[in-house]
């Protein structure tokens, strides 16, 4: 399915629907340690490659550690919230602590081509498929 965002009025709705349709899909079911450990990850396809988008608001870039190997990717780090002392707290909804998550992908990755970007609290991992994993056209002799 190709999601097109041509109509600006329907774009968000279409994206939300597309994301919802894939929620709790079984694509990675046997490979991850159950659904939904922290942090939540969305996985997208972009051509031959995979883009993983992780929601991590309020994490320092230097506290993030990303490792890649063959077809797995590990995201570890800590989220710290420093509350000044002597304040009276009205609401406490944000969570903090350490996290460590490994994601297995059904493709072989090219570890040298992986790019990670952290911006506005979103970690985007660009995971290119390794050359030998790409489909080849076979000519009939």
């Amino acid at each position: 399915m190709v999601t097109l965002f041509t109509d600006p009025f329907d774009a968000l709705f279409n994206l939300q629907r597309a994301l919802e349709a894939r929620t709790e899909g079984d694509w990675l079911q046997n490979q991850t340690a159950g659904q939904g450990p922290f942090p939540p990850i969305n996985v997208f396809q972009q051509g031959d490659d995979i883009v993983a988008i992780v929601e991590l608001p309020g994490v320092d870039k230097n506290d993030l550690q990303i490792e890649a190997k063959e077809n797995t990717i590990r995201i570890a780090g800590k989220k710290a919230i420093d509350l000044p002392e002597g304040v009276s707290v009205h609401r406490r909804e944000r969570i903090f602590g350490e996290f460590d998550r490994t994601l297995s992908l059904p493709i072989q990755l090219d570890p040298d081509g992986i790019k990670a970007e952290y911006q506005d609290g979103i970690l985007a991992l660009f995971l290119p498929r390794s050359e030998r994993d790409k489909p080849r056209t076979i000519k009939i002799a």
Partner: protein
């Protein structure tokens, strides 16, 4: 005070509205920390993926309203394969109890977290009263 406790995923809560919008898209509530110091009220809101120029803050009739609009262009050309969270705009309102000096409100956006500093007006600050 970070602890070693394991982080649990927080399910996104949707904004409940009295009115319906013309566009059927969803809006989410940002997670908030609110705390008070003797001189100011601090409101910290998590809005991952929202750029700082897409945030709107206003105070009207003692109600603080914060809105963050998501830039969808980053999702162009991406096909979802497996998802664990949904995305959308963020919006949340708070009824403020103390008197706020509206001219001195400061906002800062960092790593998807919006920090609002709302200074109290002079008469709203707490005073220690000496017993004679």
């Amino acid at each position: 005070m970070p602890s070693a406790q394991e982080l649990q995923v927080q399910k996104k809560r949707e904004v409940e509205k009295k009115e319906e919008t013309t566009v059927p898209a969803r809006v989410f509530l940002p997670n908030a920390d609110i705390y008070e110091t003797p001189n100011e009220l601090k409101v910290v809101l998590e809005m991952p993926g929202i750029e700082k120029d897409k945030v709107e803050i206003n105070i009207e009739d003692g109600v603080l309203h914060v809105e963050g609009r998501l830039d969808l262009s980053k999702y162009a050309g991406l096909q979802p394969l497996y998802t664990e969270y949904n995305v959308g705009h963020y919006a949340r309102s708070f009824q403020l109890s103390s008197k706020i000096d509206q001219s001195k409100i400061a906002a800062e956006m960092k790593n998807g977290v919006l920090s609002l500093t709302l200074p109290k007006v002079e008469e709203a600050k707490s005073r220690t009263i000496q017993v004679k």
